[in-house]
């Protein structure tokens, strides 16, 4: 009796597995790995559908961790890992998740991934992870991550969702790096921690490079409002180059 039951369970599991495989292979349409459509998933978020400048998501972290280029790059990579894998996992599970509790499921998966990333950063890049402090943890609530899960991963195949995650994280990262480039260069006269504009000594005579000419670092660049203004300027430049983004008034 018990064995029969067991067998039944086994066959049920087997059936489910088959269903899963069938469903996976069906969902992946027969198209080449980097078809035009798939490439579009990667390239769209970089410009036409940029998460920060067009969808205006994830602004909070763009303000907080763009004082230094290094931190911005690490943050973008962290977001990329989280987005790619959470998109993939949610897409795998998308037909198993009851829609009423999907947000909680998404949160659990994103949180698990973020903890993994956080631990890796702590283990290998301790100083940077200290600098990023709470903002790695806050990737959990990053609107872009949840937005892509809701808007894309829940309705698309695994591989496509993976590409979508990479693409959107790259779009996010590009803006982050642009903003951080200007903020670090003008705010502290450095790039990637290297003093590119010369060394600022106690007096003008002790200084080298631009500082010897009386140049000063721009303190406003280190404050969050300036990040917002730079994002605004990026949007301005982007829209004047890409006319279709301008809404009809």
């Amino acid at each position: 009796m018990a064995q029969e039951n067991n067998n039944k369970q086994m066959s049920e599991k087997e059936a489910k597995k088959k269903e899963m495989i069938l469903f996976l292979s069906n969902s992946e349409e027969k198209e080449s790995f980097l078809s035009k459509q798939n490439l579009k998933l990667l390239s769209d978020p970089l410009n036409d559908d940029n998460p920060i400048t067009v969808q205006v998501l994830g602004i909070c972290s763009a303000l907080a961790i763009t004082v230094q280029l290094q931190a911005a790059v690490v943050m973008s990579l962290a977001v990329m890992v989280v987005m790619a894998f959470s998109n993939m996992i949610i897409s795998l599970m998308r037909n198993l998740i009851p829609s009423r509790i999907r947000i909680i499921v998404q949160l659990v998966i994103v949180a698990a991934l973020v903890i993994l990333v956080d631990q890796v950063l702590k283990a290998f890049l301790y100083d940077l992870s200290k600098q990023l402090s709470v903002f790695v943890g806050l990737i959990i609530t990053n609107c872009i991550v949840m937005g892509r899960l809701e808007a894309f991963a829940l309705g698309n195949g695994v591989y496509k969702s993976f590409l979508d995650g990479i693409g959107n994280a790259a779009g996010y990262g590009v803006i982050l790096i642009i903003v951080a480039f200007f903020r670090e260069l003008l705010g502290s006269g450095k790039l990637w921690g290297i003093e590119v504009l010369g060394h600022k000594g106690a007096t003008m005579a002790d200084s080298t490079g631009l500082y010897a000419l009386g140049y000063e670092n721009n303190g406003l660049m280190l404050l969050a409002p300036m990040a917002l203004i730079i994002v605004g300027l990026v949007i301005w430049v982007q829209r004047s180059r890409n006319r279709k983004l301008i809404e009809e008034a």
Binding site: E216, N218, L223, G232, W236
Partner: protein
């Protein structure tokens, strides 16, 4: 006169439609209308045309600024020379001050108008006159010793982000001159506050403090000036904000020409006096807080309060538009200015932040004033209908 007109028409030729320099037409038109009243008139219908256009309004403000500017130039020289010699001649002080002030004004106009012209050509609209006032205001509210490139950068920031990003003259949310000062203040704090920036070369003279009165009060040191000094403006400070007398002279011109709103000016001073008076009353329990115990009438004549209320808060673009709104707007500016002075030692002068804050809230104030008016009228109509029935 005719000769200039003819020369100008000749000069304009290559800029007319279909000609070589058509793109640059806004630039030459701006020069034309700057010198002559435009001769194009409305073609159809009856329209009342007033001789007062934007240019005349702006010129009135510039004239109103002149007393404060001349005094500021003299004071900049006087504050410096009085440290190193016993007798200071009038022209000597003016000359010394001009060396500092004139380059700042030139830089401000060249950079600001350069950006305005570039945008006018790029966007194909006319050059607006708004910058005539802004360009003069910006150097007037800077410390004497600020490097010129910082002035240039602040001007560029104010015109680009404060004005052009919103659509140019008349569309800005914040007062552009104060945007420039706020930029400089947060970007280069060591050049915009402290005790060495207000008097030229103050740190090179032993035993002389160039600190402003507000700085001294915040630091808890004695103030060597009496109320009359503060009122006439013989004190260190940003270039043109020290003399309340000269500012009031400008204020009278603004009020009588109806260019500036007297409601904002009066309510601004009332708000500041009210807040300072309350702090004076509370001051008894905080004997160590010099700013709190500073008499309320002195609060009105020191720092940039008068200059800010008269010339910046009345900026018709960024101020409230309704009459009742103007009272509220002005009163809150004065109130917040004194509050920031007393409660925030990091910002010894609060008028800049107070005006910028209220600029942001001005549309909200107007909205509620208008809503209130609509409600009142509806009630009145209802009452009338009732009595009629």
């Amino acid at each position: 006169m005719k000769w200039i007109r003819q020369r100008l028409d000749k000069m304009k030729e290559p800029f007319s439609k279909g000609k070589k320099y058509e793109k640059f037409a806004p630039a030459i038109n701006a020069l034309d209308t700057f010198l002559f009243v435009p001769n194009h008139t409305t073609q159809r219908g009856a329209h009342v045309r007033d001789a007062v256009d934007l240019k005349r309004v702006m010129i009135t403000v510039v004239i109103a600024l002149i007393p404060a500017l001349i005094f500021g130039t003299w004071n900049a020289g006087y504050q410096y020379l009085s440290q190193i010699q016993d007798q200071v001649g009038f022209w000597e002080a003016i000359g010394e001050g001009s060396i500092k002030v004139v380059p700042m004004i030139l830089v401000s106009y060249i950079v600001g108008l350069g950006i305005e012209f570039a945008f006018a050509i790029f966007r194909g609209h006319e050059v607006n006159e708004g910058y005539l006032v802004t360009g003069l205001l910006i150097p007037m509210i800077m410390p004497v010793d600020i490097p010129l490139w910082m002035v240039a950068l602040s001007v560029a920031f104010a015109v680009l982000i404060g004005k052009e990003a919103f659509g140019g003259t008349g569309m800005n949310i914040l007062n552009p001159a104060l945007t420039a000062r706020a930029f400089a203040f947060f970007a280069y704090p060591t050049y915009m506050s402290g005790n060495t920036v207000w008097v030229h070369n103050a740190y090179q003279v032993d035993g002389v403090s160039g600190e402003t009165i507000l700085g001294k009060l915040a630091a808890g040191t004695d103030v060597p000036y009496n109320t009359m000094d503060m009122f006439s403006g013989l004190i260190p400070g940003s270039i043109a904000e020290t003399s309340t007398v000269c500012i009031l002279a400008g204020a009278l011109l603004l009020i009588f020409s109806k260019v500036g709103s007297w409601r904002i000016i009066v309510s601004g001073f009332l708000g500041a006096a009210f807040m300072a008076f309350i702090f004076n009353l509370l001051g008894g329990s905080y004997p160590n807080n010099d700013l709190m115990n500073f008499p309320w009438y002195n609060h009105l004549v020191i720092g940039g309060l008068a200059f800010g209320i008269v010339f910046m808060a009345t900026d018709p673009v960024s101020a409230a538009q309704t009459f009742k709104g103007k009272w509220i707007y002005g009163f809150l500016i004065g109130l917040f200015a004194v509050m920031i002075r007393i409660f925030n030692p990091a910002y010894p002068e609060g008028i800049m932040l107070a005006i910028l804050l209220m600029n942001v809230f001005a549309p909200t104030i107007d909205h509620y004033v208008i809503e209130g008016n609509i409600k009142k009228r509806k009630k009145r109509v209802k009452a009338q209908v009732k009595t009629a029935v």
